[in-house]
């Protein structure tokens, strides 16, 4: 049992750490993440041969400080993760709660929407939209937010179905509560814990997808220091200096793993509560 708690705590620490790094990026970064120094290109990290303490994680192909870019990249990943989840959560939860609460025709429509959404090839459509409208941070967030609501809707729908016939809903109705009050004050708070688990999953997915889109050249635009973009830019040099893709890759991996660990821990907590 102890290992479980340790894993959840580790996840929480990772997420909190990256969040803080993102918020305080300007204070933490040793250099300007956009400043180029063409005389100092592809300097390896400090612990490798040829590295120096001037650039702890080395420099990229334009001589920009890798650590500073990594630190500012935390901002982008967290921003994408959080804002995407807010957007997709709003859409998915609204649809799911309505479908689950009213059932019948409303539910049919919601289920149909979920099925359609799942049939749309996610990466392909996201790439197309970004290619057409021109890449920007806002557009990536909006596109992912408008596409990643399906799991929110599925979970909100099933959990609402479970609570809609419980006594406290009937009591609220008998007390003359309005529909909005019942949905927002009675249903929503009682399914929120389940939605929190979905939120962690979707946040991890959004961060991975942003990195993927940026890697394919259709995510956040250069010179923003997205981790996915850093891997894409380092790709041409990876055979001689593998660290250029290892550094942002491992960072991305650790953050996503941290979010997943946190989500897993939350889910176990919920399960334990119910028993």
């Amino acid at each position: 049992m102890k290992l479980r708690h340790l894993a959840t705590a580790l996840g929480g620490v990772i997420v909190a750490f990256v969040l803080l790094v993102g918020i305080f990026a300007p204070l933490l970064a040793p250099h300007d993440p956009f400043a180029q120094d063409l005389m100092r290109r592809m300097v390896p990290p400090e612990w490798m041969e040829g590295g120096s303490t001037a650039n702890w994680l080395g420099t990229d192909q334009l001589g920009r400080d890798y650590l500073s870019r990594l630190i500012y990249g935390a901002r982008i990943s967290m921003l994408i993760g959080i804002l995407t989840v807010v957007t997709s959560g709003t859409i998915g939860i609204t649809l799911g709660v309505l479908g689950g609460f009213f059932g019948g025709r409303v539910d049919d429509v919601v289920m149909f929407a979920i099925t359609c959404r799942l049939s749309i090839p996610l990466i392909l459509v996201a790439l197309t939209v970004v290619a057409l409208l021109g890449s920007s941070l806002t557009l990536v967030i909006l596109t992912l937010g408008l596409l990643l609501w399906d799991r929110f809707a599925v979970v909100a729908r099933t959990t609402t179905m479970q609570v809609r016939n419980l006594d406290y809903i009937a009591a609220a109705r008998a007390a003359g509560a309005s529909l909005a009050h019942i949905l927002l004050r009675e249903v929503l708070p009682n399914i929120l814990s389940h939605l929190l688990v979905v939120a962690t999953l979707e946040m991890a997915l959004a961060i991975l997808l942003e990195a993927t889109l940026s890697f394919l050249g259709l995510g956040v635009p250069s010179p923003l220091p997205s981790w996915g973009l850093m891997i894409a830019e380092g790709k041409d040099y990876m055979f001689f200096s593998p660290w250029v893709i290892m550094v942002p890759g491992v960072t991305l991996f650790v953050l996503v793993m941290g979010i997943n660990l946190l989500g897993d821990g939350l889910r176990d907590l919920l399960r334990a509560e119910r028993v």
Partner: protein, 305 residues
């Protein structure tokens, strides 16, 4: 049963139509297509000529109906980039993507099912924990990064496998492995959950009371029941994997429809993009329909609903 099949088929058809309308609208409403084809240096006259030649001056609904009618008869339009019929481009590339997807799924099943069974048989043990931890790590691995890492290790340092293209079948090994990685966590969790349920069921206790051996109980009785959801999820998973192969095909330069789509997107070749979206959506819808029907055949209770 017939009514069930009919209802599912009609639903699939409706979903298909909606997805097509949405994806069509998306490429047309999100900007001036003619202007993006013409490029940044084109004059207003150039754009007007392109608009007329490609039929982009007609009303949107008209364009969609024309496109859909042609698509239904197998004509997916002409590629702006290759100056060739889109259907021909896709016919050549689809087998590559399907081979990649199916071999990825095969690898995923071969890894996920035994590990899932093992984890379920030793529920709560260190082995179970370790297996679930691997699932968690797999989920967090960005597939494009895993691809690059494998290219460096196996292609460059060890020189065991080709790092791009499919001149030989070995070219599929690395991409299929990366693709399998994306499906293994879900399949493994599902196998484990199904086996845990099945192993605690009454008929297992009966089998055990009859004195059957442990391996016989697990393989003959529990697995048969646990396998059902895994088989149907595997079909759905294949749909997701085909959609996700765009990233892997791009990294490994595999000439499948994913790579074709990526190329077309960056070159504004929208008839091709539209066709690939359609093919991937159709494959996904077909596979979920197959999964539904398989479940209904295996479990008569589902047909009633």
């Amino acid at each position: 049963m017939l009514i069930f099949v009919f209802r599912r088929a009609v639903l699939a058809l409706l979903v298909c139509l909606t997805v097509l309308v949405v994806s069509f609208a998306l490429t047309r409403l999100s900007g001036d297509l003619a202007a993006s084809i013409a490029g940044p240096n084109a004059t207003a006259d150039d754009v007007a000529i392109i608009r007329k030649n490609y039929g982009l001056d007609r009303p949107l609904t008209q364009q969609f109906v024309d496109w859909a009618a042609a698509a239904a008869s197998g004509d997916l339009g002409r590629s702006y980039l290759y100056h060739a019929p889109v259907s021909g481009l896709i016919r050549v590339r689809l087998p590559v993507t399907l081979t990649l997807g199916l071999s990825g799924l095969a690898i995923a099943l071969v890894v996920a099912i035994p590990l899932g069974i093992l984890a379920a048989m030793r529920e709560g043990s260190a082995a179970d924990r370790a297996i679930m931890l691997v699932a968690l790590l797999g989920q967090a691995m960005p597939s494009f990064w895993l691809s690059l890492t494998l290219i460096i290790w196996f292609g460059l340092n060890l020189q065991w496998l080709p790092i791009s293209g499919i001149e030989s079948w070995q070219g599929y090994i690395l991409p299929a492995t990366v693709l399998a990685f994306s499906a293994i966590p879900a399949l493994m969790r599902l196998t484990r959950a199904g086996m845990v349920d099945a192993l605690s069921a009454d008929y297992i206790r009966t089998a055990r009371a009859k004195g059957l051996s442990r391996s016989k109980i697990v393989l003959k009785h529990a697995l048969r029941n646990a396998a059902m959801p895994v088989v149907s999820i595997a079909a759905v998973q294949l749909g997701f994997m085909l959609g996700g192969s765009i990233v892997i095909e791009t990294v490994f330069a595999l000439p499948g429809i994913g790579y074709l789509a990526w190329e077309s997107i960056s070159k504004n070749d929208f008839p091709v993009v539209q066709a690939v979206v359609m093919i991937l959506a159709l494959l996904y819808i077909g596979l979920t329909l197959l999964a539904d029907l398989m479940n209904a055949v295996l479990d008569p209770r589902l047909r009633a609903s």
